[in-house]
């Protein structure tokens, strides 16, 4: 027990040390002008800017706009992705008709369509939500569909023999069994929703992180760009933490595989 705990502490210490060394090197080399800090900024300047960002109220405003776009997109994209995935997975002829079409549309890099969506839905939130939702949809749909294809047919047969009708089988057997795949899709979807919202803002907006980053970099305010990236990093960490917890709960019935080649036996 103690050895495991010691090892955990050791890993944590090394990790923090590495991060510290990275920022310290950044700070020192920038201040010594080993390169032009105009293009990179440096940690102390970024911290000051973050303070400004927060005090002026801009941080909360832009964060909430981008997150709102991303989350609404994530919500609709996930729901539609799961429903369509289940539908196509269950009704095979539907799947056969539409799968190549969806695959083809998915093949278009969605970002290239962002200007079109802005044309359709305007400069407001709708175009960003649409882009975010679409990107989430593809992630969730394909993983849900794959999940259903991977269900052991005998599970469905067992459910039928035990008296479950189609809807009951879907709810009690198909959906939970595909949950690992669906969650993978949602996990990728979280990232995709943020990308969708921010790219949408790049293309045309009056607020949000994407707008802020584009605006700041055009004025060479690199500290502000870095501040935005830092905030996004924190947001990403928090979302991943929540997803980990949700997954641990939803997949509590699944054995966790611990594959280890034990290279570090003697550590």
């Amino acid at each position: 027990m103690n050895i495991i705990k010691e090892k955990k502490n050791y890993i944590l210490v090394v990790r923090i040390l590495l991060i510290f060394v990275f920022f310290a090197t950044w700070e020192v080399t920038a201040r010594l002008k080993l390169y032009n800090p105009l293009f990179t900024s440096y940690p102390s300047e970024i911290i000051l800017d973050l303070k400004d960002f927060l005090v002026s109220g801009d941080l909360v405003k832009h964060t909430s706009i981008t997150l709102k776009e991303a989350f609404i997109g994530l919500f609709y994209g996930t729901i539609v992705g799961i429903v369509v995935g289940l539908l196509f997975g269950q009704i095979q002829s539907l799947g056969k008709i539409f799968l190549p079409i969806i695959t083809a549309i998915h093949g278009i890099p969605q970002l290239t369509l962002a200007p079109v969506y802005i044309l359709w839905f305007g400069l407001g939130l709708t175009s960003k939500i649409f882009l975010a939702a679409l990107m989430v949809f593809f992630n969730v749909f394909f993983s849900t569909y794959a999940g259903i294809q991977n269900i052991e047919p005998k599970l469905i047969e067992s459910a039928n023999l035990l008296g479950a009708d189609t809807v009951q089988t879907l709810y009690h057997v198909v959906l939970p069994s595909s949950m690992p795949w669906i969650l993978t899709g949602i996990r990728n979807g979280v990232g995709a929703s943020l990308i969708g919202a921010i790219i949408g803002e790049f293309m045309g907006a009056s607020a949000g992180f994407g707008w802020m980053i584009a605006y700041a970099s055009s004025y060479f305010k690199i500290a502000r760009v870095m501040s935005c990236i830092f905030i996004l990093l924190i947001v990403g960490l928090i979302l991943n933490f929540i997803l980990d917890k949700a997954e641990a709960y939803l997949l509590r019935w699944k054995a966790t595989t611990r594959l280890s080649f034990n290279y570090e036996k003697n550590m």
Binding site: L155, L161, A164, W253, A255
Partner: protein, 336 residues
């Protein structure tokens, strides 16, 4: 009136003729085995009864009711599979309760029935575990509990022990026999293991290429196999060509094959007294294999090798190459 009746069942997978006019009746409470090598159609027949496959032609009756076109959920038939197929996302309790929940049975009744089923398969206290936390044998017992808790009209067992090691398999076999007796539940069991079929069954149907070759009690089939296939499948019969048999006994022979069970042949180092109703042969032992309580001698008689099984006896062990006399009762030489 039989409990289950298959009437002229035909089943094609595309051009592949899997079941060929199967006619079969099964009595209530019987433990019936479909025995055959893989691909003979035995599992398909089972799946047709469960409603998991549609038959191409014919009719299936259960308790006098035509169930040919009913969906699986309307048939009330329990089935356990080789792969256990427990719902991985449900714990043991919910797995067993599933069928009752689907029937909207009262919660207290469900609880009672689940406990009863768990007691029946000796897994009380396992309610909260998930399938991944159970061994193969435990999973199969839970699968059994799950299928009997709804009191199905028939229990189907599709090679349920294939993935289970030999020792555990034997204990599961006897557990299933006990449960079958206790609940008097008509059961149909599919296997390719003749020993398993003999241990478990009231009636065995030997299947080959989509046809039922022979039906009967284990003893009947063992003693009087009809056809080479049944003979090869059940027991370890000596199967001789008619002319070889003529060569051995010097008697005219009309049948093309003669089947002799190895344990019916008597062996001795001294000559037997002659008689009307048996043949005496002289041969030499070419191989000996020890199988626990039984010793099998391979005896060469005029370049024909016969298997002879003898109960292990310290005082009567023959050596390799030793000359021995064999005594074959005529009634044990079955012509096919």
């Amino acid at each position: 009136m039989s409990y289950i009746v298959f009437e002229n069942i035909e089943k094609y997978y595309d051009d592949n003729h899997v079941l060929k006019s199967i006619n079969l009746s099964i009595n209530k409470g019987d433990f019936v085995t479909l025995l055959g090598s893989s691909g003979c159609g035995k599992s398909t027949l089972l799946r047709c009864l469960a409603g998991l496959e549609q038959i191409t032609r014919g009719k299936i009756f259960l308790q006098g009711e035509d169930i040919t076109y009913l969906s699986p959920k309307e048939r009330n038939i329990g089935m356990i599979f080789q792969q256990y197929s427990l719902f991985p996302n449900m714990n043991v309790y919910n797995n067993i309760a599933f069928g009752l929940k689907m029937k909207k049975v009262d919660k207290d009744v469900i609880n009672e029935e689940v406990q009863k089923a768990l007691r029946l398969v000796d897994l009380k206290g396992y309610e909260k575990r998930y399938p991944y936390q159970l061994s193969g044998g435990e999973q199969q017992r839970i699968a059994l509990a799950r299928s009997i808790v709804t009191k199905p009209k028939v229990l189907l067992l599709d090679k349920p022990f294939n993935a289970i090691d030999a020792k555990l398999r034997r204990s599961l076999q006897s557990r299933i026999k006990e449960i079958h007796k206790e609940l008097n539940m008509t059961s149909i069991f599919v296997t390719h293991d003749q020993e398993e079929a003999m241990i478990m069954s009231d009636i065995i149907h030997v299947m080959k290429n989509g046809v039922i070759e022979q039906s009967g009690t284990p003893v009947e089939i063992y003693r009087h196999p009809k056809g080479i296939f049944a003979a090869e499948f059940i027991g370890n019969h000596n199967i001789l060509e008619g002319k070889d048999f003529m060569n051995l006994t010097g008697e005219e022979q009309k049948d093309s094959k003669i089947v002799i069970r190895p344990e019916t042949i008597e062996i001795s180092h001294g000559e037997f007294s002659k008689g009307e109703d048996f043949y005496i042969l002289l041969g030499s032992i070419v191989d000996i294999s020890f199988k626990g309580s039984i010793i099998r001698y391979m005896v060469n008689v005029n370049d024909i090798t016969l298997k002879v099984d003898v109960l292990f006896d310290d005082y009567k062990i023959y050596d390799l190459g030793q000359k021995v006399y064999l005594k074959l009762l005529k009634e044990h030489c079955i012509g096919l």
